[in-house]
């Protein structure tokens, strides 16, 4: 049993824009690359060229289809990684204190030297955000790139999680939710940012921006567009007659 800090100075986390995520998996592989080379044990792959390749990933993209009543089906791409919950059940369940939430910024980490690989935390996490590395037998999870965001060996503009830096569509944003004026707080307020499964009481720090309403052109209120297609003439010859008049008002036309 490990305790959580009563509060943290910052609440660092991600805003993920489901309206913009095209499901390209750039964040998945950038994360895999950075975290294989950096924090703790590398993210290994088993049966890498065989029948059932399975590797450790700290971030995965899932796709869901939605079938509205009277509109075409939609496909939502849903990237998922650790949400760095304020009431993180993965931390409180840890028997060795290896899992912890940092006081200064709220990042949930695993101290791999204390991890016994029991897997309780992965069971406790309702989001399936932790993965046991099959080679090292330690628990791996999103570190919010704690070894990038403060890293003085990186240019300042690169001090953000690898997934955010690489996202081609700009669908991932990083910042401090404890600061109401931060980019992530503002985006969350403007776009109705949501918690993932709030009913579980985990108080996730990461937020998701919902997709904007789609297929608006099927709605009934588009008659305002009708004037834009008002015919100028019934017949092509009439069109050329109209053209004759239209052209006189054009720059260079005969007046």
């Amino acid at each position: 049993m490990t305790t959580l800090p009563t509060s943290t100075e910052k609440k660092l986390g991600l805003v993920i824009d489901l309206d913009t995520c095209v499901g390209c998996h750039a964040c998945v592989i950038s994360c895999k690359g950075w975290n294989t080379e950096n924090y703790g044990a590398p993210l290994s792959d088993q049966d890498a060229y065989g029948a059932n390749p399975t590797g450790t990933f700290l971030n995965r993209v899932h796709s869901y289809e939605i079938q509205p009543e009277a509109a075409p089906a939609q496909l939502i791409h849903f990237p998922k990684s650790c949400l760095h919950c304020e009431d993180a059940p993965c931390v409180t369940v840890c028997p060795t204190g290896a899992s912890y939430k940092r006081v200064e910024d709220g990042i949930v980490l695993v101290n791999e030297s204390d991890c016994i690989g029991c897997g309780l935390c992965a069971w406790a996490c309702p989001y399936g955000a932790r993965e046991m590395d099959a080679t090292e037998k330690v628990m791996k999870k999103c570190t919010l790139c704690v070894d990038r965001i403060y890293n003085e060996n990186l240019p300042e503009e690169d001090r953000e999680p690898a997934c955010v830096r690489t996202c081609p569509a700009g669908a991932r944003h990083f910042g401090d939710f404890a600061d109401p004026d931060s980019n992530v707080s503002k985006l969350t307020a403007e776009r109705g940012g949501m918690d993932l499964m709030p009913e579980l009481g985990t108080k996730p720090v990461n937020k998701y921006l919902p997709p904007r309403p789609k297929d608006r052109d099927r709605s009934e209120d588009v008659d305002i567009l009708a004037p834009f297609l008002e015919p100028v003439a019934a017949e092509p010859t009439g069109f050329l007659g109209w053209l004759d008049k239209a052209l006189t008002t054009m720059p260079g036309g005969k007046n």
Binding site: S30, A41, D114, A134, D147, F239, L243, P251
Partner: protein, 943 residues
């Protein structure tokens, strides 16, 4: 609570960052390769790079798994077993090049056309074509013919450029972005960045695609169109805009050939051609005087209204013909709704939206500019509707006309080269007339008479022998496909096997998996490659292949010349080729060996420098006969294409030091590129940023930079006169006449104004028996057999079920885990199915090229790619079904020869799972020249 562990939050990231260009797909992003202990530790995007500005897709980040791939070829290989068996022995480079020279030298001295040299997904075409030109064979092309030539050629013939390498939406100003069927790797990251950018400011994204995945999944409005009917939808939008008069008439009159006069006398041998003056310039009516004037005359104000009678013949402006064509009721939304699968009301709303955004939300930039007629314009007026399209609309037999229709839609809105619309990327715009014509004159022992590929402008430009047969092995530039600007790589093996138009001796290919996913009718292609004649010799006598990886094609070659991976080589992404420019900047880039190969391999282009010297090819030997370029880096630095113009435009040597664009070779040029992050970039001046074809500020800058040697403004050509010349010939006019059996098809398809016709195979197929359209898509996170089956990416895309829409799923009572027999008029496959609702109700699809042959790519024999994985290629024939006259046409666009992959129609039946859950057809495992990969990976190179 225990104390938090002490954490080093500033660990060392790498020893060194080496900046080069990605090659995990065709997009060409800048990458930072982080090195530790001389090994690749991490790859990220380069923030300074014009293409990706720091971002990087999944493929790019997974490049690290490419340089450790078990499928990398290790040394040159000589075939020792039967062709196709995969039995090879490793040989030295000297022996390999001696063998190649022994085959090629006699051909060059006697009949150079007996070498067919096709270079697949080549990014060095200005180099490989130069090599082939020196060899003297007319049989050279890259893979454009089976990829997207319709888009490229449609754009160049219509307005001097298309999308991707040619042009892009004005992401900073556009208010409505309409995306038609797209191959993801064509402008991969820039499209994602653009969509992100415009969504962030609330602009609208519209997707037109049978499949609602990827970009279409985030589109605000989705049009799940029936495959092959995009042209019909576009013509219907044009119809609505014409009907409502929502046209940029000023733009059409000044900057397009809508104002040029057309001969309207059906009896004239000039019928349908433009009226020209003695200098050959098309004429317009100058509304200042009412008299004829050349289109580009000083101060001329072209008129769209008047007609002109000359020598008893009435001439009307092209615009009148456009009005007649596009106002035709056959294009009314009500009349296209059934075929396109889009309700008429939605077509009207889309047209109305375009009209509203283009004209009610127009943009005005207070930027003065002067056009080529000397007229000063106080403002730049923008129509902020932008579009992008690629392979989805182009890989159909009606693709060329569809691409032309799309550009015509952009043009009538005044949304090309204006703020908020589409912008060209230097050195484009460049009209068809500024490109070379195709060349095919063969002289034994001497170079070809000019560049192979180019743009034809009428029957005189076709590559035909005196007996009317094809000059080229792929039959490009014949009456079957008169405007085949990229060649027709997909026909090479079939034609070489058939000895039609003639037999060849050596097939030399690079980076194209022709015995698998890059060919139609894959099984038959494998048979053609291994077929023997009566005397027991192979029908295609010699096959040389170059690839970096153990692809399916390797087993079918006699000689393998192993290439390097992209991090081990020099390359230049040149302005002479397919550059990386942006609308606001001209740019080119290099690759350089950020690591050295640990195998006995050579970069393909470096190898060609040596082979070229062994063959004494002009341009590859010094006067004393010695090898001119030691390797590709030497060529990149020192080759001179035209005075002052070389492969790279940055840091050239001028009289007073280094300069951009033009200049002499600079021995330190590659070092300068490396120091600058692997690329060079120079910004387009502000006053030259828009209206580039017409804007004198741009024209003058382009000449200064060396894109062309004299100022050459032009106007857009919604009316493509060269097409009319082919029609005229088909009607019986002129010296060069088509064969009778093609006359009707030429008349019907080579319309100089955009038209739509049903995919050609539909007429020869029972569409009731085969009611379902079948497509492939490229995954965003996996490229088609370019690199290896990447260990990280195959965990995302290791399987490719056939995705089936709800209607068909329910009709057949499918359940997850079921299998289907899928039959086309020419083939049959048995494959696993999966349900997808966000899909056109008559369309099935799968991921492209996930299916692999057992033995290839160093995969285990039970890898899902080789068991459940499959190709649709088995269902697609390179020839159309037999016609009434017994002829079989190639399954291509009749104008450009583009492979019509997406015309495929199938029927589907539920069936039992095949034995062993093995997709059918299945093939014996290939014997691989490489060992299988490791069972597990943990690629941490640092301590």
């Amino acid at each position: 609570m225990k104390d938090q562990p002490i954490l080093d939050t500033s660990p060392k990231v790498s020893d060194e960052v080496r900046k080069t260009t990605c090659y995990m797909c065709a997009c060409r992003c800048g990458i930072n390769v982080h090195m530790k202990d001389g090994k690749v530790a991490y790859i990220e995007g380069n923030k300074d790079h014009p293409v990706n500005q720091g971002v990087l897709c999944a493929k790019g980040s997974a490049g690290i798994m490419q340089v450790n791939a078990p499928s990398r070829l290790k040394a040159p290989l000589k075939r020792v077993g039967p062709r196709g068996s995969g039995e090879f022995e490793e040989i030295s480079w000297d022996e390999a090049l001696t063998i190649a020279t022994g085959w090629l030298k006699p051909i060059r001295d006697t009949a150079p056309e007996k070498l067919a040299f096709f270079t697949g997904r080549d990014q060095s075409q200005s180099f490989t074509s130069f090599w082939a030109q020196g060899f003297g064979t007319p049989n050279y092309a890259a893979h454009g013919g089976f990829c997207s030539v319709n888009m490229a050629a449609g754009g160049i013939y219509t307005m001097g450029g298309a999308f991707w390498e040619f042009g892009q939406p004005d992401w900073d100003h556009t208010k409505m972005f309409v995306l038609f069927g797209v191959a993801e790797d064509h402008d991969s990251n820039p499209i994602k960045m653009g969509i992100g950018k415009i969504k962030a400011r609330g602009a609208r994204v519209v997707g037109v695609n049978p499949i609602r995945s990827g970009y279409n999944a985030v589109a605000d409005d989705w049009f799940g169109i029936t495959p092959g009917t995009d042209g019909l939808l576009i013509l219907s939008l044009i119809h609505e805009l014409f009907k409502a008069g929502k046209l940029d008439l000023d733009y059409l009159a000044r900057f397009t050939n809508a104002s040029c006069l057309v001969n309207e006398d059906p009896k004239s041998d000039q019928y349908g051609l433009l009226l020209r003056n003695d200098e050959g310039e098309p004429l317009v009516i100058d509304s200042r005087t009412g008299d004829l004037a050349p289109w580009n005359g000083e101060g001329v104000e072209p008129d769209l209204r008047g007609t002109h009678r000359h020598a008893g013949v009435t001439h009307r402006p092209v615009f009148h013909k456009m009005a007649e064509r596009f106002l035709d009721v056959q294009y009314a939304p009500e009349n296209v709704a059934a075929q396109t699968g889009i309700e008429a009301s939605r077509i009207k709303r889309l047209a109305a939206d375009m009209a509203r955004v283009a004209f009610d939300e127009a943009i005005e930039l207070d930027r003065e500019w002067t056009d080529f007629r000397g007229k000063k314009h106080a403002k730049m007026i923008g129509r902020p509707v932008s579009m992008h399209a690629m392979r989805g609309i182009s890989a159909h037999s009606n693709g060329f006309q569809t691409c032309r229709a799309l550009h015509t839609l952009q043009i009538i809105l005044g949304a090309v080269e204006t703020p908020g619309g589409m912008r060209f990327k230097p050195p484009y715009p460049k009209p068809a007339t500024a490109h070379p014509k195709p060349h095919g004159k063969v002289t034994p022992g001497a170079p070809l008479d000019g560049p192979h590929l180019g743009f034809t402008h009428g029957p005189d430009d076709l590559l035909l022998k005196d007996d009317g047969s094809a000059v080229r092995i792929d039959k490009a530039y014949t009456w079957e496909n008169p405007m085949s600007s990229h060649g027709m790589m997909h026909m090479v093996i079939a034609n070489a096997h058939a000895g039609d138009p003639y037999k060849i001796d050596t097939l030399f290919m690079y980076m194209a998996n022709m015995s698998w996913n890059s060919s139609m009718n894959t099984k038959a292609v494998m048979e053609m490659l291994t077929d023997k004649d009566d005397s027991g010799d192979y029908v295609i006598p010699h096959i040389i292949y170059s690839d970096a990886y153990s692809s399916e094609m390797v087993a079918f070659a006699d000689l393998i010349l192993p290439d390097t991976t992209y991090l081990e080589r020099h390359d230049c992404i040149s302005l002479l080729d397919r550059p990386i420019c942006e609308a606001d900047a001209v740019a080119d880039a290099i690759r350089w060996p950020v690591i050295e190969p640990d195998r006995d391999v050579k970069g393909f282009q470096s190898m060609l420098c040596e082979l070229g010297a062994r063959l004494d090819l002009p341009g590859f030997v010094n006067e004393d006969g010695s090898q001119k370029y030691q390797d590709y880096a030497d060529y990149i630095t020192n080759h001179i294409r035209r005075p002052g113009i070389g492969p790279l435009a940055g840091w050239r040597m001028g009289d007073e030091g280094l300069q951009d664009g033009r200049g002499e070779p600079n021995e330190a040029q590659l070092d300068a590129y490396i120091k600058n992050g692997g690329f060079w970039m120079s910004h387009v001046p502000d006053e030259a940023a828009y209206y580039k074809p017409f804007n004198m500020a741009y024209q003058n800058w382009a000449v200064k930079m060396g894109f062309y040697d004299s100022v050459q403004p032009y106007i857009f050509t919604p009316y493509v006169e060269p097409m009319r010349r082919y029609q005229l010939a088909a009607e019986g006019h002129g010296r060069v006449q088509p064969p009778d059996h093609l006359r009707e098809r030429i008349k019907a398809t080579m319309d100089p104004l955009p038209i739509w016709y049903a995919p050609l195979s539909d007429e020869l197929t029972d569409t009731e028996e085969f009611p379902v359209h079948a497509l492939t898509q490229r995954p965003m996170a996996m490229y088609h057999s370019w690199g290896t089956q990447n260990a990280w990416l195959r965990q995302i895309h290791g399987v490719n079920p056939l995705y089936v829409p709800t209607k068909i799923w329910e009709q057949h009572g499918f359940a997850e885990g079921d299998w289907a027999k899928v039959t086309s008029p020419t083939g049959e496959i048995t494959v696993p199915v999966a349900h997808m609702a966000a899909l056109n109700e008559n369309t099935v699809w799968t991921w492209n090229a996930i299916g692999k042959r057992k033995g290839a790519w160093a995969l285990e024999d039970d890898a899902p790619e080789t068991t459940k994985g499959f190709l649709l290629n088995h269902l697609i024939h390179e020839l159309l079904p037999e016609q009434d006259d017994g002829m079989r046409w190639s399954n291509s666009d009749p104008i450009t020869g583009q492979a019509a992959w997406f015309d495929l129609r199938v029927k589907i039946e539920k069936t039992d799972a095949p034995a062993g859950n093995q997709s059918q057809p299945a093939f014996d495992p290939q014997k691989a020249p490489v060992a299988k990969g490791p069972k597990s990976l943990a690629w941490k190179v640092g301590k």
